[in-house]
Every structure is written in C-alpha cells, then in structure tokens.
C-alpha cells in the first residue's frame, strides 16, 4: 500500500555515499563513465572494478537490490559478450562450438567490453540507489545555474521536477482507486482481446486527467496564496554543501584515475 511506495530506486541509508553531496556523485560518475573507455589492461580494469565494488560495498545496500536494478541490462551485457565472441577473429583458436571457432582475442575483447558495460551501469545505478530524486533535482538546478544567463528557466524546471516527484505517489494512489471503481462497474483490465483492453483504459485515463487538472489548479492557487511569485528573491531551505567527505572522495577518485593511466598497457 502507500507505505511501501518507493519513487525510483532509492534505498534509504546513512553511508558516506548516501551523504555525499549529489553534485559530487554526479561529477564523479560523469568522469568515471568517461575514463572507463581508457582502460585496456587487466590491471587498469582491476583498479576500476575495485573502485566500483568498494563503492557498492560502502553503501551497505543489500546485493539483491543492486542485482534487481541490473536485471534489465543483464541481457545486454551477455549479448555484447556473445557478439564479440562470434564476430572477432583475432589470436589463436581456443575452442570450437558447433563448428564455430572461438578465438582468444574474441574472448578477451568480449570480456573487456562486457566488463566496461557492467561497470558503467553499476556505477550509474549507484547514483539513483543512494540519492533521493529531490537531491538529484537540487543538484541539477545548481549545476545548470550558469544557463540562467541565457534565460534558460532553471528554477522553474527544478520546481516542476520537485512537484512532479511530490505528486507521483498521490497520482498512483488515485489510479488505483479509479481502476477499482471502474472494475466494480464491470471494466475488465486484465483479460480479453487487446482492442477491448485498450478501450478499458479510457474510463481510467479520463478521470485521472480531470483530477490531475483540478489538483494543478488548486495547487497553483495554494502556492500563490503562500506568496510564490517566481524564483526572484527566493531563498532555499535545502542547501547543498561540499563537506570534507566530498573532498576526500574527489582525492581518492583522482588516485584511481592516476592508477588507471599508469597501468594502461600492462
């Protein structure tokens, strides 16, 4: 029921990674994604993997959540691996499967590319696993701040995102209620031919839109009554602050990058 609604993948926690400034996390992930493509030796991969796994371990998020987050992409990783295995023809033949020759180069490249893929996904999912959507919104607002100069509506965009986040659970509950009411009036959402089921969506969507519009109207009025008149002169309660732990992580990450470039080609 409502108590279990989780928006996105966020898993609450109090680890250092949870407490990092979201901008730090976004920046590091951005550069990590970038440097992954420079890894080309066993040692360099090992360093990146160690960093990623250590980060995962630090969050203390149960492995099953992480694995669950990766399920949709397992297929892609395996597919990439197999593709390389059968397409690349370098090195010596190490095995033969149904008259397909598998080369040593293919094996190595397949592993390397899938590994890259895996690291990318693991580290980016760490952002959504340890950061609430609202923190991500704050970080984006802050990092896009320079765009205000070219009249990009940064504040409005961030407010829109945070209000959407606030109303997702409300609208989900509403959807549940309306579908119950319509099911009681004989609508069958679950069985029947596709055409019938598509038609069954109308009695669900119309009321949902009507109510969303009504909510929007009332919310706008309430916001105005509480003195909202744009981003001008507004202060903020939620504050992003770079702490010592952020600096420490940056330094650590620099070491990782340095290590990566030193071990390239080994």
């Amino acid at each position: 029921m409502s108590n279990s609604l989780i928006i996105g993948q966020y898993v609450p926690g109090n680890s250092i990674i949870h407490r990092l400034d979201p901008r730090t996390k976004i920046t590091i992930i951005f550069f990590f994604v970038f440097v992954v493509f420079f890894a080309n030796s066993l040692l360099s991969y090992a360093i990146l993997t160690a960093f990623a796994l250590a980060s995962v371990a630090t969050t203390r998020i149960p492995i099953k959540f992480i694995v669950k987050g990766l399920t949709p992409v397992w297929f892609l990783i395996v597919f990439t691996f197999l593709l390389h295995l059968f397409v690349t023809k370098e090195g010596t033949v190490v095995a033969e499967v149904f008259s397909f020759k598998i080369y040593s180069g293919a094996l190595i490249q397949g592993i390397a590319i899938s590994m890259r893929f895996f690291l990318l996904i693991l580290i980016t999912s760490l952002l959504t696993l340890t950061t609430t959507p609202i923190e991500i919104t704050d970080a984006i607002e802050d990092m896009l701040h320079p765009l205000k100069k070219i009249k990009f509506p940064v504040h409005e965009l961030a407010l829109m995102m945070s209000i959407s986040l606030r109303f997702i659970p409300t609208l989900m509950q509403e959807t549940e209620k309306i579908s119950r009411a319509q099911a009681s009036r004989g609508v069958d959402f679950k069985t029947g031919p596709i055409k019938e089921r598509a038609k069954a969506v109308v009695p669900l969507l119309v009321p949902l839109f009507v109510s969303a519009f009504k909510r929007a109207e009332e919310l706008a009025m309430a916001m105005e009554a509480r003195g909202y008149h744009g981003g001008e002169g507004r202060t903020k309660l939620r504050e992003l602050r770079i702490e010592k732990r952020d600096i420490a992580i940056y330094v650590l990450f620099l070491f990782v990058i340095a290590g990566l470039f030193l071990t390239r080609n080994y």
Partner: protein, 290 residues
Amino acid sequence: MDITFENVNYIYQQGTPFAHKAIKDLSFHIPSGSFVAIIGHTGSGKSTLIQHLNGLVHPSAGTVTIGNYRLTNDEKPKNMKELRSKVGVVFQYPEHQLFEETVEKDIAFGPENFGVSKEEIAKRIQEIIPAVGLSGEMLKRSPFDLSGGQMRRVAIAGVLAIKPDVLVLDEPTAGLDPRGQKEIMNMFKELHKKEGLTTVLVTHSMEDAVQYADHVIILNKGTKYMEGRPEDVLTQQEALNKVQLDVPEAVQFLLNFEKRFGIKIPFQRQTTEEIARDVHRYLQGGGENE
C-alpha cells in the same frame, strides 16, 4: 444475498519487505436484507474489507462467501463479472469515476458492461434519475458541468443502474453539506426497503449508524472489535473510547445525565423528542421515586 467472512486474513504485498497485514482473522455474518454499518478509523481495514465484497482482492487466508460465490486464496468464482453485477460499490468520492460525455452515457456504462439491454437500461435510468434527486434534462449534459453534489448523485446512479442485490457504501456523504448528506442517506434507506437490498454502510458517523443500521461491526487494526445491535454496541462508551471512537451524541447525553442526576434512562434508539419527554418525566414528575 448473505455475506460471510470466515477467518479472513489479508496481507498486502505478500512476500516483500513491505508486507503488512490489513485484515486479521476476521469473521462475521451478514444475513440477506440487513442494513449493516461498519465503523472504524482510517487504517482499520475497512477499505480492504470492501474490496473483498466484490472480488477486487482475494483473502490471503480464510473464506469469503457472498451468496453462492466463494472467494479463497486459490479459488475464484468462475464468473467474477457476475459477482460484480450483484454487488454494487459506491466508493468514497464516487464522482471521481465519471468519464463519459453525458450523464446518461455514464450511468449506462456499468449496466452495458454487464450486458444489460439498451431498452432495459433506458427504463432503469428513467426510474433512477428522480430517485437520486436529479432532473431528466441533465441526462444530455456533460457530468463535468454539474455541481459537486450533482456529480455525486450521477455517480451513485451509475452504480444503482447495475441493480445490485448488495449495495456497499463507502462514506457516501463525505464532503457534502448537511442537507445533501441527509438527502442522500434517506435515499439509500428508501431504496434498501423498497428493493430489499443488503446494504453495507462504511462510515465514521455514529449518528448515521444509529439512525440507519440494524447491525454494527466495529473494526480496529484489521480485526473485529465489537459487533451487535446499535443500541447494544454504540452505548459502550469505555470500550469505544479505547479505540478512539465516541458514542453518538444522544447516548453521550444520557450517560452525562445519569452521572449528574443518578437516573438511568436506557438508550433504545429513541428520538430526541422522546428523550426530552423522558427527562421531563424524571425531573418534574418525581420519576426517581416511582
């Protein structure tokens, strides 16, 4: 149709870390034709109970029987749609379910889904419109152009048009003003008598329970807390206060009166007028010594 719950349990999101028991070992029996009030706070399991009544959910354990339909964890009635055509549910704020272009189409939506013929639907609409206090000229209008109170009536008409045997009402008067509340409740009472319905009223209002129901069930934390005739259950102040419910105002007065004057006037669902006469008799007619 008789309604029976036997040791019903319901667990939300079973098998996840968020699993939570909404209904615990709930058993009761509602004989066909009775008007039952189910009372409890938000979170007492009322809304989950309602969803069992027309098969929107199945018990995690135990058995729900409605007429000839049986619901258990692994057993569904063969024709769920048929059950839903027999048990009509007016959900809270039912106007939120309106979606058609005209009032007429929206009222017809339910019966159409259950395969009622066009002629029959037209006939039912003619009967229902005056019963719920709407006028015929509204039929061609968009339900979204009506006032809140009128939209509520259209939504109720949409459920009544299914002609159910069991009518489940989930706080049907919430948000209406006093006049609207009274009109709607009186309409349900009329209908209950005229059509011989089994009516299940979920409410917060002790006054409504006393006035309309012949049987009350009090729910607390997903389980049955008390059950019986309104005059027996709704007079037990201490027990009710324990689950943060109050006795009806008339009962409250009789209890206060007893405390002040040492005279007990039993509550038998008498009208305010009768209470006044009782008080008068005891205080001025020297009733204490009779």
